[in-house]
């Protein structure tokens, strides 16, 4: 697939931290509606890749394309306006605000902050509550984000990302630190998302990866060492050597 016809594509992406090359010529393209998993051992460059995709880090070289248009080096908030949303690995929430207000802030981003009408109008509250119900937080709407459990905070993270009505959703270890029950709940939730949505997911739980992903890209020391369907990747000798062998045997 050409980079122009992809929902998300990176081409020769590099990122250096001092002498360390965290991303070393990464190229891949994700089709519209595809579920793409990015896997690899710790330090492979997965989170750096996400930070470059969202504009939080500038690449040292290479290009990023969103919907066929070059967006390399574009500011984070502009990329968000273009339909890129991210669920953070470490929760990035508005702690003293209620779960509902957290979602409302995400909903309000589309029309911008320069409105003097009172916050919390009926339609917005209803929309926020619908999203909270969708991620399983219906009865927590009034509680401050800081009062939620770790798993619930992950659910709220997802609600915020969905509230942005994204076209491309980046999920950075959505099940990290979750109980088995919470993990299967959120995996089911992700599996049910609209097929028009393009999803990139970084995840260490291989059950989740093989359940969700259409294709898998394997990163190792900043390079793509494999890129293909789940079965293809599972059978790849190099991938098994550097990563899967260790993960799956455990």
């Amino acid at each position: 697939m050409s980079a122009d016809g992809a929902a998300v594509a990176v081409d020769g992406l590099r990122r250096d931290f001092g002498g360390v090359r965290a991303l070393d010529g990464v190229s891949f393209a994700v089709a519209y509606g595809e579920r793409r998993a990015i896997i690899g051992p710790n330090g492979a460059g997965k989170t750096t890749l996400f930070n470059v995709l969202t504009g939080e880090l500038a690449p040292s070289g290479g290009r990023v394309l969103l919907g066929g248009q070059e967006v390399t080096g574009m500011r984070t908030w502009r990329l968000a306006r273009r339909g890129l949303a991210r669920m953070y690995q470490r929760n990035e929430l508005f702690d003293p605000l209620s779960a509902r207000q957290n979602v409302a802030l995400a909903l309000g981003a589309a029309r911008g902050p320069y409105h003097l009408r009172p916050a919390g109008e009926r339609a917005e509250v209803d929309e926020a509550d619908a999203l909270l119900e969708r991620v399983g937080l219906a009865d927590r709407a009034r509680d401050p984000a800081r009062a939620l459990s770790h798993g619930e905070r992950r659910q709220l993270e997802l609600a915020l990302a969905l509230a942005q009505r994204p076209r491309v959703l980046l999920l950075d270890e959505p099940t990290a630190g979750m109980s088995p029950a919470e993990t299967s709940a959120i995996t089911a939730l992700i599996g049910e998302l609209e097929r028009s949505l393009t999803i990139l997911i970084v995840e260490h739980d291989m059950d989740v990866v093989f359940r969700i992903a259409d294709r898998i890209t394997v990163l190792h020391e900043g390079k793509v060492i494999a890129d293909g369907g789940p079965e293809e990747v599972r059978g790849d000798r190099l991938v098994n050597e550097v990563y899967l062998g260790k993960v799956l045997e455990r």
Binding site: A85, F94, G108, P113, L116, P118, A119
Partner: protein, 332 residues
């Protein structure tokens, strides 16, 4: 346990919703008519002068709290806009040949807003302690200009004999008139700040305070948002500066100086940042210690320092925070 009746359920929230605005309006009326109903009391004139000055600084503290309390931007250079507004009101009245309120107050707001736009554009990208030091540095530059541009500002002698404004031909220079002007402007500024705090704009400022990174990821241009808050706060500080110039009939480089910046900071923190009542109470308490207590006891500045330390160490949420804690404990 008895179940609440329908009537009590519906009355509770309504009372709670309307009580604060009603109390606020009543307080404003009481303040506005203070010279009338206190006329027979001893020291009425003195008391209204103190009240006037408290309200001038309440406006100033309210403006600073838009930055500190709402947007989480700890500015230590807010005096630049207070002093800028004060000089602008004084100089406009002298040079433009009119004392009309709209013109002189307008000059104060425009000058303060322009200053805030320039300083804000150069500082709002910095966060925390860096923002604090940068705003301090720029305010010191403003101080140097006020100090050295003697032709315009009177330099170190200050600008004495500031002309008080006229409202559509009505002379506001008598003490009671300027007092009432201060009350009205204070009321308007408090209303503006209250409205902003509950608006979508105010909610976005809180979002920036709590997690700027996430705000950017959601699609908010946080740099522009913070700059808008900086200009808004600067403009309101300019209003406070004009009120100060008219009240004291005097403007000096001190109004632009570090002392005035710190005073605003102390007022906000003692009163309670991020609340409407906090900065008002903080301004009242600081002025009370500086003006009233200072004639009764020695070392009133030391008292102020100790009060500040106690609040920073033991009551981070300020007077309002303490009151809320006491109230919730009493109700339980």
């Amino acid at each position: 346990m008895t179940r609440p009746t329908k009537a009590s359920l519906s009355r509770g929230p309504r009372v709670r919703r309307w009580a604060p605005p009603f109390a606020g309006a009543a307080a404003l009326v009481a303040l506005f008519t203070f010279p009338d109903w206190s006329a027979s009391m001893e020291g009425s004139r003195y008391a209204s002068t103190i009240l006037r000055d408290m309200l001038v600084f309440a406006v100033y503290a309210l403006s600073l709290d838009v930055l500190i309390g709402r947007a989480g931007m700890p500015s230590l250079g807010h005096a630049a806009f207070f002093g800028g507004g004060a000089y602008a009101a004084a100089i406009a009245a002298e040079r433009l040949g009119t004392d009309e309120l709209a013109v002189t107050l307008g000059a104060a707001v425009v000058v303060a807003a322009a200053l805030a736009l320039v300083i804000g554009a150069l500082t709002v990208r910095a966060a925390g302690i860096f923002f604090l030091m940068l705003t301090l540095a720029f305010a010191q530059m403003a101080f140097a200009i006020a100090f050295q541009w003697t032709d315009l500002t009177g330099g170190s002698n200050g600008f004495a004999g500031v002309r008080r404004p006229v409202l559509l031909g009505l002379d506001l220079s008598p003490p009671d008139s300027i007092y009432r002007l201060v009350v009205v402007v204070f009321g308007i500024v408090a209303l503006v700040v209250w409205w902003i705090a509950r608006s979508e704009y105010g909610r976005a400022l809180v979002g920036v305070r709590e997690n700027e990174r996430r705000m950017r990821a959601l699609g908010y241009d946080t740099t522009r948002l913070k700059l808008s808050a900086f200009v808004l706060a600067g403009s309101l500080a300019g209003v406070a500066g004009a009120l100060s110039a008219w009240s004291f009939r005097f403007v000096s480089p001190n109004d632009v100086g570090l002392g005035t910046s710190v005073t605003g900071f102390v007022m906000v923190l003692i009163g309670g940042a991020g609340t409407l009542l906090g900065p008002i109470l903080g301004a009242g308490l600081v002025l009370y210690i500086e003006r009233v207590l200072s004639s009764a006891i020695p070392y009133s500045q030391t008292v102020l320092g100790i009060v500040f330390i106690v609040f920073v160490l033991a009551a981070r949420q300020g007077l309002v925070g303490v009151a809320v804690q006491v109230w919730t404990r009493v109700r339980r």
